[in-house]
Amino acid sequence: MPEHLSRLQVTAGLLLLALLALPFADLTLAGHDPRGVLWRMAQGFLAPDFSAVDEIGRALLLTVMFAVAGVAAGGVAGVIMAPFYDRPGLRAFCIALRSVHELFWALLLLQVFGIGALTGVLAIALPYAGIFAKVFAEHLDEADQRSARALPKGVDALSRFLYARAPLALEPMRIYALYRLECGLRSSAVLGFIGLPTLGFQLDSFFRQGEYGAASAIMILYVALIASIRLWMRWRLVPVWIAAALGVLASVQSPPMGQGALWRFLTEDIVPVPLRGGCDGAALADWLRDILTMEALPGLVATVICAQIALALTGAVAFFGFGLIVPRVSGRVGAALGHLGLVILRSFPEYMLAYLFVQVFGPSMLPAILALSLHNGAIIGHLLGRQAEALCPDLRADAPRGATLWGWELVPRLFGPFLALCLYRWEIILRETAVMGLLGVMTLGFFIDSAMAELRLDRALVLLVVAGGLTAAVDALSRAIRRRLGTGALRRVPRETLLGERA
């Protein structure tokens, strides 16, 4: 890669990749009656039915409780690991933790702990621990180092950390933790789709019964829950919420697992078949080649194709959409409507949107691409729109309005941050694309799910490593490109606003 890349080169490169991927993408309409389904769904959504109070209430409660417990556990682990994040071993461990999607973790944990509370909490806590460790370590690095240097020489490391380092990074860490809880609510809801008793499970069963009104009700309440997070999640209430989560989750009934499930999982299930009867190198090579060529490679190719198209569309949604929430561009009413649209799109996790689209279009790449680009485009659009609003008071007195303002003043100023945000989302989009396989799209998740269903956990593990490796590779590539874009494209956006919704 050259030492410097221009924004134009990077944009053109990403668009070109998407165009090259397009002919190979499976965009067929596989649903048998898309128009009819869409019509029935629309009718149901316009007439929400709140009568199934018990089921809806319990699903929402458990969604919150799993999120609180998982994020808290991941946060504590992250805080403990953050000061040591510069050690290569720990860094690699954290990368491995976070490059595997929550749903994949859940599928794996199901084999060990069954469909119980522990599976749900760990499925959130494990990847989040890796993310928290990395981001908290960055907060510590970015905090003012002068107070630590001003301490006397002989102060021990722990005191130095607690007195002069941690307090300075506390505020960004708190803001980030709150943002992560919002992500946790999305993760927790999605875990329901593989059987945990959260929102996804309830939504799925409403859909199976054709109760679109009830599905609409639960989704409206879910958006309200996420939008009001700052009202009910107060820093002082955290201990209360954690205690409540422990209490509620302890009451979750789950079928007991047989004795020694963990032991069997570690010593038998995930050991490659050719090695179970003794060491057979040739058989192992055949076994591995078979998985890599028959499953990993097609899954990998499909994942990349789907993700690259989704990334380009994400960019398009954000690029053309961010002006919608800026009053000077779209007017006061237009901005309010724009905000509403973006809030709805970014409250629903990609996976849940894709689930809805699969009901309509059937399982091709189309629903996955639509879901990924709408959700991620809404997030980037929201962040850019807020930056644009912040720019507006400083514009010259005779600056234009409307689409002209968007094109001449806002787009040129915000194109750098826009590109950085797209590159940052690249890894996330790829992770999510792999997982879309669970919905029947032929990405890596499809093969992982099939292997799990056939209880061939050794194969599933190989595929998980491939998926994780792909995510980690794209993360590294994205970072390399961002660095070469120069002018600290990433640094200009504070960490909280880059990742989070509200700084």
């Binding site: 400083d394 010259r396 005779d398 234009p400 689409a403 001449w408 194109f415």
Partner: protein, 217 residues
């Protein structure tokens, strides 16, 4: 009458009190006074008042308001965005029309910016940036030009040339200037601000050097 015994400023404490201001055709006004005396505030109020009367006003703000990522040409083109619809402007942004390019090109050659036409503003020197802001105002054209220290970053000769060009192009001009000789050479009327009031309003010929020095004392 543009301003009639008005108090100007932000919030509870006005920056200027009891300001009355009219601008006759052909008048070129230089605003003098120490920094913080209220020149920018007065210019802001004049801008609003002139717009309210339906004048076409060209503006050179002190902070310039350039878009650093865009080229000199496009920044200058911004002077006429409100003459066209959004569609024209958006296509012009992607590829400026030949006529607009030629028109701006003339302005840029007057200001000595022709070699930089297609360079991004973020790579220019302070004086070049200031001339881009001037180019935007000249391309806008119109009846009145308001400028807040529009030639502060240019050398004396260049500044004088550009000021005489402004005088030729605009019927009425109000500029905040800090170089007294430059102001006296350019203006047909000098307005001095001090202690939150207009303390001086006369033609250059009628003003003694001492009265101007008193403004800065």
């Amino acid at each position: 009458m543009l301003l009639d015994r008005q108090s100007l400023g932000y919030g509870a404490a006005p920056v200027l009190t009891g300001v009355s201001f009219a601008l006759a055709p052909g008048e070129r006004v230089a605003l003098l006074g120490r920094s913080g005396a209220g020149k920018t505030t007065l210019l802001g109020a004049l801008y609003d008042a002139l717009l309210a009367q339906g004048n076409r006003v060209a503006l050179v703000p002190q902070e310039q308001g350039l878009v650093p990522q865009l080229s000199v040409l496009r920044n200058a083109l911004m002077g006429r965005l409100d003459d066209h619809g959004a569609l024209y402007n958006l296509t012009n942004l992607v590829r400026p029309r030949a006529a607009d390019r030629a028109g701006v090109g003339e302005v840029l050659s007057i200001l000595g910016l022709s070699p930089q036409t297609d360079r991004a503003v973020e790579g220019l020197s302070g004086g070049q940036k200031q001339r881009v802001a001037l180019a935007r105002a000249l391309w806008r054209g119109g009846d009145v030009l308001l400028g807040d220290e529009p030639v502060s970053a240019l050398d004396e000769t260049q500044g004088a040339e550009i000021l005489s060009h402004i005088a030729a192009r605009f019927n009425r001009v109000v500029l905040a200037l800090h170089d007294v000789d430059q102001a006296l050479g350019f203006a047909t009327r000098v307005v001095g601000l001090k202690d939150g009031r207009v303390v001086l309003d006369a033609t250059p010929a009628d003003i003694s050097r001492a009265r101007i020095e008193a403004l800065y004392a």
